[in-house]
């Protein structure tokens, strides 16, 4: 195979070549370059639908890549400093699940913070791994979970020497990073692997002055959401591995659940975005950081709002902070984060990433423009002027230490009964309950339901959070383990 460089985008180039060949399609997809679905072609554009094609020799095959997809993977691995990179088309959810399924099987333990994404818990339901939670420290003023302290990770490792791996959020949704290098060293010295959920950390690989990336820190696997800060199409993602992990094994695991009809729109978007970041990422993310720093200063000068950043760093549970994350605490304006989130959309036509009980997060990325930053800041100032009130009767978020009564898989598949939510205190939950976004479970299968957790769920519902997970979409009832008390 010829030697390619970061200026190449082999999948994209193959698609361009393929288009010129004017091949007659007697294969899927059935819309045949959009001709069979003119309305779709009008919506997405001729060019887009003509590139929605199936795996074939000139375009390689995602399940068993040997030519252009293989080259794209190698270029991505080089760009990210990984031993190998897998192109993923099932979202970072599938990258996270493949990462966990690659290292743990039924009964194996994984050490992790409780504020993981639902996809992590979902993987445990699938494979039967057992979570060992490390209490993430909580910031009292902000009510947000922080990172894992090194000594807390060490304690968990010593108490569970048979655990297979330690999983780290790098960073959390709010931008908080644990001491990843330290945790990697700890894990490795006890024969465990270190996994990183980098759904919100793509830019760490390309920007300057940002927290360390998982591959640079020596982690063994990392799920990287290229479509979040990296600019590729929604649902496209990378799974990265370090030298200690077998490429073939991970590929087999991915192929258990990944589609055999990988979308070339998603694959080419990964390819092109990787090229873009490799060539221009440093400059682009410098601009993003400036935009975020500026917006933070302006928001903090409004009064009431607290846009936090590196000042939270304490060398341990907040080892580093991702300054591209524009996280803002809203409690001193007298509004819950979710209320500000709704006002921004309903009153000001501004859609931000999420609002929780005490905070909002505006996602800045390579597509952002300064004028839009000004609009966001002005809208926040206006919300304070028009809707601000005293801080009373806002619930402060706090970390609720979960009591794990059964493994996620056992609980999920066990005999269960449906009870009115008010009657579930003391019972073991068999399903997920979460606000989405951020999609961090409030309850995971196997966890005991407490009064405190119920109050939290009811308050979040009242404030207008979008709660998901349970069988009953209105969350008036919850499934709990039968008999178990």
């Amino acid at each position: 195979m010829e030697r390619l460089g970061q200026k190449n985008a082999p999948i994209y180039e193959a698609l361009e070549r393929f288009k010129q060949m004017r091949v007659v399609p007697f294969d899927v997809p059935g819309h045949k370059r959009g001709r069979g679905n003119p309305e779709l072609a009008r919506l997405l554009g001729e060019k887009c639908v003509s590139m929605d094609v199936n795996s074939m020799k000139p375009l390689d095959n995602l399940c068993h890549p040997i030519s252009v997809i293989r080259q794209a993977e190698e270029l991505a691995a080089e760009a990210f400093g990984a031993a190998h990179a897998f192109l993923m088309v099932g979202g970072t959810t599938s990258a996270v699940q493949s990462m966990i399924l690659s290292v743990a099987k039924r009964g194996d333990k994984i050490i992790l913070p409780r504020n993981v994404h639902r996809s992590v818990m979902g993987a445990m339901v699938l494979c039967g791994a057992v979570p060992v939670y490390v209490n993430p420290e909580c910031d009292d003023r902000l009510g947000i979970p922080l990172g894992m302290k090194l000594e807390a990770v060490e304690k968990a490792i010593l108490e569970n020497p048979d655990a297979k791996a330690v999983l780290v959020n790098n960073p959390t949704y709010y931008g908080i990073c644990s001491d990843l290098r330290g945790i990697v060293a700890l894990a490795h010295s006890h024969g465990m692997l270190c996994l990183a959920d980098e759904a919100h950390g793509t830019h760490f690989y390309f920007g300057e002055g940002l927290p360390v990336s998982a591959m640079a820190a020596g982690a063994d696997l990392a799920a990287v959401s290229m479509h979040k800060s990296g600019g590729s199409l929604t649902q496209s993602s990378f799974l990265l591995i370090g030298p200690a992990v077998q490429e073939g094994h991970v590929r087999q695991i991915i192929n258990l659940t990944q589609t055999t009809s990988g979308s070339y729109l998603l694959l080419s978007s990964l390819d092109i975005s990787r090229r873009n970041l490799a060539l221009r990422g440093k400059e682009e993310f410098r601009r993003v950081v400036e935009l975020a720093q500026y917006a933070r200063r302006e928001i903090n000068s409004i009064g009431g709002y607290y846009a936090f950043a590196q000042e939270l760093c304490n060398g341990d549970s907040v080892y580093d902070f991702d300054v591209t994350k524009l996280s803002v605490n809203t409690l001193d304006v007298g509004l819950a984060g979710i209320e500000v989130y709704d006002l921004l959309r309903d009153e000001y036509d501004i859609q931000i990433e999420f609002g929780d009980l005490g905070n909002i997060l505006a996602y800045l990325s390579i597509g952002g423009r300064p004028q839009e930053g000004e609009r966001l800041v002005s809208a926040l100032a206006e919300i304070r002027r028009r809707f601000g009130r005293s801080r009373s009767n806002l619930m402060e978020q706090e970390y609720i230490d979960p009591e794990v009564a059964a493994s996620p898989q056992e609980a999920f598949y066990a005999e269960k009964e449906s009870l009115p939510i008010e009657d579930t205190v003391g019972r073991v939950c068999s399903e997920f309950v979460m606000c989405y976004p951020p999609g961090i479970p409030i309850l995971a299968p196997g966890e005991r339901i407490t009064r405190q957790i119920l109050d939290y769920i009811l308050y979040a519902k009242e404030k207008g959070c979008s709660l998901t997970g349970p069988e009953d979409p209105d969350i008036l009832r919850l499934n709990v383990l039968k008999g178990e008390r």
């Binding site: 302006e298 000068s301 009153e347 000001y348 036509d349 300064p370 004028q371 000004e374 609009r375 800041v377 002005s378 809208a379 100032a381 206006e382 002027r385 028009r386």
Partner: protein, 283 residues
């Protein structure tokens, strides 16, 4: 030689003006700026290819955006002007001796520089001692001001490109806050005629209605703007544009305009039925 400037006023309608020569073309951080000489309209300025003003018809726009609020408010001392890099609004404002301070906020310094050089007809009074020019984003500038101005004039471009933020709820809300308790805001309000402009016009009106207790719209005829039928918004905390119009006081000034009269002032608020309906739909 056949040298024509043309602007697609809609995807299916073009305005063409015969050009003698192009005097300037440049690109700033924000937009492309061009100045032409033409036999029919004299010198004219375009931004990103869109007509901003011509020497022949600019008086209509600048008189109507300035004198309407000035004939209503009894005592304007502090004025904020957003945009207006061509200087036309300033030229009209400095005719009022009671105005003590004018803050003009223009995002693009190159527009001011080019207009000073090529369009002295509008940029002639940009050296008035009462005027301070701030080169920054209007959305940002007005955000931190509170009860400081008697009049705000929003002389914006269209609601796409650099002027986008000047058509938003947050901007109008900030203007409300920046005005004194009897302050007035007047804005360039797009045209009701072609669908895309009408949509922008409706959206702007909706957001102003939500932000100010008094919100009325008035019209003028500007030959070089799409459809020639153009609207302005009159939003106020206290004064009504017709009930509080003091014709005698304004006419005693003897300012002498070419378009504006206090009689026209009254007529300008009587809108065609379809425009009334368009606006009422969002009130």
């Amino acid at each position: 030689m056949d040298f024509w400037y043309s602007e697609a006023q809609t995807p299916h309608v073009k305005l063409c003006i015969k050009v003698d020569q192009q005097l300037y073309s440049g690109k700033s951080e924000f937009q492309r700026i061009d100045v032409f000489d033409s036999p029919e309209f004299g010198r004219f300025l375009t931004l990103d290819g869109y007509m901003m003003l011509t020497e022949k018809d600019e008086f209509i726009y600048h008189e109507m955006i300035t004198h309407v609020p000035m004939a209503v408010h009894p005592k304007v001392q502090d004025v904020l002007v957003i945009g207006a890099g061509d200087g036309g609004v300033i030229r009209e404002l400095v005719r009022y001796p009671e105005i003590q301070r004018i803050d003009m906020v223009e995002i693009d310094p190159l527009v001011v520089e080019v207009c000073k050089k090529y369009l002295p007809q509008t940029a002639c009074r940009l050296d008035d001692p009462r005027l301070t020019i701030h080169y920054e984003d209007g959305v940002r500038f007005v955000r931190s001001r509170e009860a400081e101005y008697d009049l705000i004039i929003v002389d914006s471009t269209d609601p796409f490109g650099p002027g986008e933020g000047l058509f938003t709820r947050e901007f109008y809300g900030s203007c409300f806050k920046a005005l004194r308790e009897d302050g007035i805001m007047v804005n360039q309000h797009e045209s009701p005629f072609y669908p895309a402009d009408a949509e922008a016009c409706q959206r702007a009106h909706k957001r102003i209605v939500e932000s100010f207790p008094v919100s009325r719209v008035y019209q003028a005829h500007i030959p070089t703007y799409p459809s020639g039928h153009w609207l302005f918004g009159f939003a106020s905390k206290k004064y009504h544009p017709l009930r509080d119009l003091d014709e005698v006081r304004w006419n005693m000034r003897g300012l002498g305009c070419r378009y504006y009269t206090t009689t026209l002032h009254k007529g300008a608020f009587y809108l065609p039925a379809y425009v009334e309906e368009l606006l009422e739909n969002v009130e």
